[in-house]
């Protein structure tokens, strides 16, 4: 029988939640890396036992952790203790240095700071780790200040795909409230050279050559908080999602507006429809129904909690425009938590399981595609990310 492993990153550590395929009883392990911010952890689709985690701290900076046994034990790639006499140490898994070399890099420019002044690019942390669909040792990292890095040795060393940061529009990018972060990486399962990324606040970009060159794909977005609402870049895209069976169709939760593209991002149209608010962070696609999508409406960009104190997931079975509230098992009064951009996931069972975590420390699960919900755990630190693995 299949089983499920849910990987939860929080403000104070990581937790691993496991259940059999019924998804009724859960075991919880953690905190792993207690006291550290775990922005994201995710398993390799090619080897589900291989996990990667981004561990950060305002004191001690960035750490990359790797597990080869599904999260039972972890290691810092290249970080093993070296006995005396010291051998030369191996790679440095937390060394994220922008590539400014003349061969493969781009000059380090500035981006816009909050007050509009130029600000130099500075690495701060890894927001998102996206393992390759085919190779457990290859993994991409989306970082703040916005850039994408790739490791092909299991996270031991990293190299920037500098064509993105070096895009001519780079000096016009600016940080969102959470920093200028590259938070979303979507790999096309049918074309290994095609990837999508999203940056707050620059927008969405696509590469068709494996990361050498990137193209802004923001036509159709309207953002009233920037001087030119339809500018090529500057949009605060919160997340994008794709169904593996239909990689040319993308869904987006923007700072405001839920959007859809049917042409690999070349153009977007709004699908917010009857949502009570079209502000929010995550967007996710049902594992088996490419037109069934989920969002969590949030009241506004200054009130990061659900409208009317009711925590509601909204589901569209029509690829947008028409939405239904999913409330059974979710708090429907006095609820003022947020659900962050990487904190929602689906499993691959039938019926599809849906999971999300809140800034109040709850992780909710639905084993029936969202019809009913129950908390797996209620009192974790604020949840930053949720990923679901379906294990054989």
């Amino acid at each position: 029988m299949s089983s499920i492993r849910v990987l939860v990153g929080t403000r104070k550590g990581a937790f691993v939640l496991t259940s059999d395929g019924k998804r009724r009883r859960w075991e919880i392990s953690g905190p792993h890396f207690g006291g550290w911010e775990i922005y994201h952890l995710k398993g390799s689709p090619a080897d589900p036992s291989r996990l990667y985690a981004s561990q950060t701290s305002g004191w001690f900076g960035q750490i990359i952790q790797r597990s080869s046994n599904g999260g039972k034990t972890w290691e810092v790639p290249g970080g093993e203790k070296i006995p005396e006499p010291y051998d030369p140490p191996g790679g440095v898994s937390n060394k994220f240095v922008y590539d400014t070399s003349s061969e493969t890099g781009k000059p380090l420019t500035t981006h816009q700071w909050y007050d509009g002044t130029p600000h130099p690019w500075e690495f701060k942390r890894v927001w998102h780790l996206e393992p390759s669909l085919t190779d457990p040792d290859t993994v991409y990292a989306g970082v703040e200040d916005a850039a994408i890095f790739r490791s092909t040795d299991g996270g031991t060393t990293w190299h920037e795909l500098a064509g993105l940061r070096g895009h001519p529009s780079g000096p016009a990018w600016q940080p969102g409230a959470g920093g200028m972060c590259l938070h979303t990486i979507v790999l096309d399962p049918t074309d290994p050279k095609r990837m999508y990324i999203a940056i707050s606040a620059a927008g969405t970009f696509r590469t068709d050559d494996g990361g050498k060159t990137w193209k802004p794909i923001n036509r159709g977005l309207q953002s009233l908080y920037i001087p030119d609402p339809t500018a090529e870049v500057g949009h605060c895209v919160h997340r994008i999602a794709m169904h593996r069976a239909r990689p040319g169709v993308l869904f987006m939760q923007k700072h405001w507006d839920v959007m859809r593209s049917d042409d690999a991002g070349e153009s977007w149209r709004e699908i917010s429809g009857n949502l009570p608010s079209d502000f929010g962070f995550p967007v996710e696609v049902h594992a088996h129904e490419p037109d069934t999508i989920y969002v969590v409406p949030i009241k506004s960009d200054s009130e990061h909690y659900p409208p009317d104190g009711k925590l509601r997931v909204y589901r569209s079975r029509t690829g947008g425009d028409e939405w239904e509230a999913l409330t059974k098992g979710l708090p429907q009064n006095n609820c003022y938590v947020n659900v962050l951009r990487d904190a929602m996931a689906v499993d691959a069972l039938d019926p599809c399981g849906v999971y999300f975590g809140t800034t109040g420390g709850q992780v909710y699960a639905s084993a029936d595609a969202g019809d009913t919900w129950a908390p797996i755990v209620r009192d974790l630190p604020a949840v930053l990310s949720v990923e679901a693995q379906t294990l054989p």
Binding site: W59, F60, G61, G79, K81, N94, K95
Partner: protein, 98 residues
């Protein structure tokens, strides 16, 4: 041997309990001690000093012999008591954030 006391989170990261002892060749300075520390425990690279600038991370402090050495030049000799192993070099996470 040089003695170094790490903050709890870095002890966990390096998989050590209590003090770390290090053999340091030549002058005993912040730089030579941290070089030896990172050579022995590679997981600590980048957590005390920035990878590129090699400067102390802003919220990390260096204390020894009841003195704050955080602003001393990295190549300045550490106190004799540290060099002889009588006193440890303390790597401290600054109190920040309440």
């Amino acid at each position: 041997m040089i003695r170094v006391v790490l903050p709890a989170h870095l002890r966990t990261l390096a998989h050590v309990d209590g003090e770390v002892t290090l053999q340091v060749e030549g002058p005993v300075t912040q730089r030579s001690v941290l070089d030896a520390l990172e050579a022995r425990y590679p997981a600590l690279r980048g957590t005390i000093r920035d990878h590129v600038t090699q400067r102390r991370r802003p919220f990390v402090r260096f204390f020894a012999c009841e003195q704050d050495l955080s602003h001393e030049p990295p190549d300045a000799p550490l106190p004799e008591a540290v060099a002889t192993g009588a006193e440890p070099l303390l790597v401290v996470g600054a109190i920040a954030g309440g």
